[in-house]
């Protein structure tokens, strides 16, 4: 209704006014054209790049997005879409797409050693395990400095010059020869013997591939003046899809586990990423060294989120009741003091508490407790108490502000009426104030629970999730909550297991969604009652 009248200027408006606004619209039009063409140019480049990589699914997605945006903005109608699209694009990519992507990763073996695709993994294996070709001839070689750093200028047995470096394979060039040895070529500076000595470590470690195919091997040098050809001791046979070790004769086959395996099960790494179905979920639920910690982490996450909510609400409510008194003075000052922990950035608060908890040097043990020796962060139970105290400190000001606001909005008449009817202060609180308060505060309590459920900072920045659970197969500690567990499995420790971490993410999502739906229904019934 409104949007149609917006696009077509009303016939009643005076002509000079219309003129004024039409001239005003030239600026926006220019901006619109510039933005749209930039967007289209970027997307076109993106699509070409994706197409050259063969990611056709993403090309289709990018094309659909481009067409949608163009249609929306080059169209006189679809006004609401013009306003929603900018935010929606980010929402679709960084909120919706990453959820889908998380599901995808959860069903793969994506982890350290399984990051490449199969072709890259084979190339990588062939270039890793190289040995000097037995009894092979030496190539006269000159060390040169080129656009990609150090390289080799090699003279092949036929007398032709070839140049290459760590990134670009050998390629024929015109060169200046001295005693049948190529010594200089255009675009490269020749290193003198003294210069070679200066950078000898780099020279001895330099590996120049012979061609784009890793099976052809590479040239290395041991002295800076003659090179030898090195080839992989592994040979890849495309027809049987096997790798054979030329030295030991061992045959490695692809058994569908994302890596080449010998008959006795030894894997050659790097492997590649494959779809492994429900394996990650199966590991999470059946492998006892993962299931045990996962279950205890899950329980602790709920305990942590509920207790954090309860304690902050209890303290906040207590304070609000205490301050909400007609003759209480100094409320403004107290309020500013109480709000300070909330205004102080939470990540800094967490780090400060972590220092104060230090067993032998910390402020809490040494000053507040007069030189006690309490292992706040290293004892499993105390560490849990410690993070709850930190979260109480971080959270009670907020609860105080919210409950004070809610309390003050309860009409005084109702309470007075109850008092006239002879209700005791406790009865007034229990049967009038609290129920009314809970109705208005319930959404805040649920939001607080949900927030603490994923309150990474308070856990990770205070205890680091520790103390560590000794018999677990994954890096996990006694105070870890689910989100810090995901982070640690994916990004800390020697084995980064992205697949397993994503599976954990999905388990958490399912749990949270179930709990939210149940609690949502509960609050609905709560509202129905009142």
């Amino acid at each position: 209704m409104t949007n149609t009248s917006v696009e077509t200027p009303t016939p009643h408006s005076a002509p000079e006014k219309r003129l004024k606004f039409q001239s005003f619209r030239i600026g926006p039009l220019v901006i619109k054209i510039v933005l749209l063409s930039t967007f289209n140019a970027i997307m076109a480049f993106l699509m070409f790049t994706l197409a050259s990589q063969g990611s056709w699914g993403l090309v289709v997605g990018a094309a659909a997005l481009t067409i949608a945006v163009d249609v929306i903005y080059l169209n006189k109608r679809m006004l609401p879409a013009k306003y929603i699209t900018p935010g929606l694009v980010f929402l679709l990519i960084f909120q919706v797409f990453i959820i889908i992507y998380t599901f995808y990763i959860a069903f793969t073996n994506f982890s350290t050693g399984h990051i490449l695709d199969k072709d890259d993994a084979i190339q990588s294996l062939l270039s890793q395990n190289q040995e000097r070709v037995p009894d092979s001839a030496s190539y006269p070689l000159t060390v040169v400095d080129g656009p990609n750093g150090l390289g080799f200028l090699v003279t092949d047995p036929a007398g032709d010059a070839l140049v290459g470096d760590a990134e670009t394979p050998l390629a024929p060039v015109e060169a200046t020869f001295e005693d049948d040895k190529a010594v200089a070529t255009d675009g490269y500076t020749t290193l003198k013997f003294a210069d070679v000595l200066q950078v000898q470590d780099q020279v001895f470690n330099l590996v120049v591939p012979v061609s784009d195919d890793a099976a052809d091997g590479s040239i290395r040098t041991l002295d800076g003046s003659s090179g030898y050809q090195y080839v992989s001791n592994l040979v890849y046979d495309e027809s049987t899809d096997t790798l054979t070790n030329g030295t030991t004769g061992e045959v490695y086959t692809d058994e569908g586990n994302g890596a080449f395996e010998s008959p006795d099960g030894a894997q050659l790494l790097p492997g590649w990423t494959i779809n492994i179905g429900f394996d990650n979920f199966e590991r999470a639920f059946t492998d006892s060294s993962i299931r045990g910690p996962l279950v205890s982490v899950m329980i602790w996450t709920f305990v942590f989120a509920s207790l954090s909510m309860l304690f902050t609400f209890a303290l906040g409510l207590f304070m609000a009741l205490m301050f909400n008194h007609p003759r209480m003075r100094g409320l403004k000052i107290y309020r500013i003091i109480m709000v300070l922990p909330y205004a102080f950035p939470a990540f800094l608060g967490a780090m400060v508490w972590s220092g104060m908890y230090s067993t032998s040097f910390g402020f809490i043990n040494n000053v507040l407790l007069g030189g006690a020796d309490i292992p706040w962060l290293t004892d499993p139970t105390l560490a849990k108490v410690a993070v709850l105290i930190v979260n109480l400190w971080l959270g009670f000001p907020y609860m105080f502000l919210v409950t004070l606001g809610a309390l003050q909005s309860i009409p005084e008449e109702i309470q007075e009426a109850a008092r006239t009817d002879g209700a005791s202060p406790w009865q007034v609180f229990r049967q009038i104030k609290l129920p009314l308060l809970l109705v208005s505060v319930a959404p805040v309590l649920i939001a607080t629970f949900a927030f603490n459920f994923n309150n990474f900072n308070v856990i990770y920045l205070v205890t680091g999730g520790g103390p560590r659970i000794a018999d677990a197969d994954i890096p996990v500690g006694h105070t870890d909550i689910l989100i810090s567990l995901v982070y640690k499995v994916a990004f800390t420790g020697q084995q980064r297991d992205y697949g397993l971490a994503s599976a954990f993410s999905i388990i958490i999502f399912v749990v949270v969604a179930t709990v939210s739906i149940i609690s949502f229904r509960r609050t609905k019934t709560l509202e129905d009652i009142h």
Binding site: M1, T2, N3, S5, V6, E7, T10, S13, F21, R25, L46, Y83, I84, P86, G87, F90, L91, I93, F94, Q95, T102, F110, M322, F323, H325, I337, M338, V339, L340, F344, P345, A346, F347, L348, G349, M351, W353, S354, G355, S358, F361, N366, V367, G395, Y398, L401, V402, G405, A406, N454, F456, Y460, L461, I483, V486, A490, F491, Y498, S505, F509
Partner: protein, 301 residues
């Protein structure tokens, strides 16, 4: 806590001429409890300010509060070659402010459409935007990392280890609870105002930019501050995306300084913490009134 009882005793003494018993039962005990709670609220802050004023700081050295007052730790941190604190500070401000401005802008655009226009799927759209956030971005941190790695292969300027990439990820949450907050506030602005402007010939864009945006300024400030604080506080996504020390934000950088508290240069960290906190605290106290009303509407820190 010995200090507490002392404070309360002096407080009672000064009130002696009045009816002590009645005063105590009425408001006196409330003050005592309030002072105790104030101390609980303040002592970590006092501790960090005091520590930052020590010239050299191990943890043990930090335990005597306010014995020294030297700015040595501040100058040491600002001239440190190991920790590019100034860089972290600027990074945090750039990322936080850009995110806040863009998030407010994107959110306001959407809220305008939802509040002022009637179209098919309006209610569903609004509900979907809020429900999508049930899967928090944090949970998808692995996917975010891998996605940005891939983006970086094609567009290095917005891929892994760039602020632009991090800001884009934060903007994924620009529509969401914030839009809902703004939508509610937009609805309180009478429709007659924009209808009057339209009769005068103003287009939809003009109504939005020169009329609506000015009338909803308070909620824009609240949403802007909340998203600024949220991006300042983020450790998970920032630590995964920003690899180089020079690129990192305060949360990631400062945590590196104290990752081993017993051996860290504690006063240097404290100086950094104080400097990092000051802008946020000041901003917060200024906008306190708006924030509290915004918060009671359902947002959480």
């Amino acid at each position: 806590m010995s200090t507490t009882t002392q404070v309360s005793k002096t407080a009672t003494k000064s009130r002696r001429p009045f009816h002590l018993g009645r005063w105590f039962r009425d408001t006196g005990w409330r003050h005592i409890v309030a002072v105790v709670l104030s101390l609980f609220a303040l002592f970590p802050l006092a501790y960090i300010v005091s520590t930052s004023l020590k010239p050299f700081g191990t943890l043990t050295g930090s335990n005597q509060l306010f014995q020294e007052a030297s700015f040595a730790s501040y100058t040491r941190l600002l001239s440190s070659s190991q920790y590019p604190f100034k860089g972290w500070f600027i990074n945090s401000l750039v990322v936080g402010l850009t995110t806040a401005v863009l998030a407010v802008f994107l959110g306001a655009l959407a809220a305008y459409a939802f509040s002022r226009m009637r179209f098919k799927g309006r209610r569903t759209g609004l509900l979907t935007i809020v429900l999508v956030q049930m899967f928090p971005q944090l949970l998808a941190v692995v996917a975010i990392f891998l996605l940005l790695t891939k983006i970086g292969d094609i567009f290095p300027a917005i891929g892994l280890n760039t602020h632009a990439g991090l800001i884009m990820v934060y903007l994924g949450g620009a529509l969401g609870v914030n839009t809902y907050l703004m939508y509610g506030f937009f609805n309180t602005v009478p429709k007659e105002i924009d209808e009057a402007a339209k009769i005068d010939g103003a287009g939809h864009a003009r109504v939005f930019f020169s009329i609506i945006l000015r009338l909803v300024a308070p909620i824009l400030a609240v949403v802007g501050l909340l998203s600024f604080i949220a991006s300042m506080n983020d450790y998970v996504i920032a630590s995964v995306i920003l690899v180089d020390t020079d690129q990192q934000t305060l949360a990631v950088g400062l945590f590196r300084m104290v990752s081993n508290p017993n051996y860290a240069d504690w006063s240097q960290f404290a100086a950094g913490a104080v400097m990092a906190a000051i802008p946020v605290v000041i901003l917060f106290l200024f906008l306190q009134r708006y924030i509290v009303s915004g918060l009671t509407a359902g947002a959480v820190k």
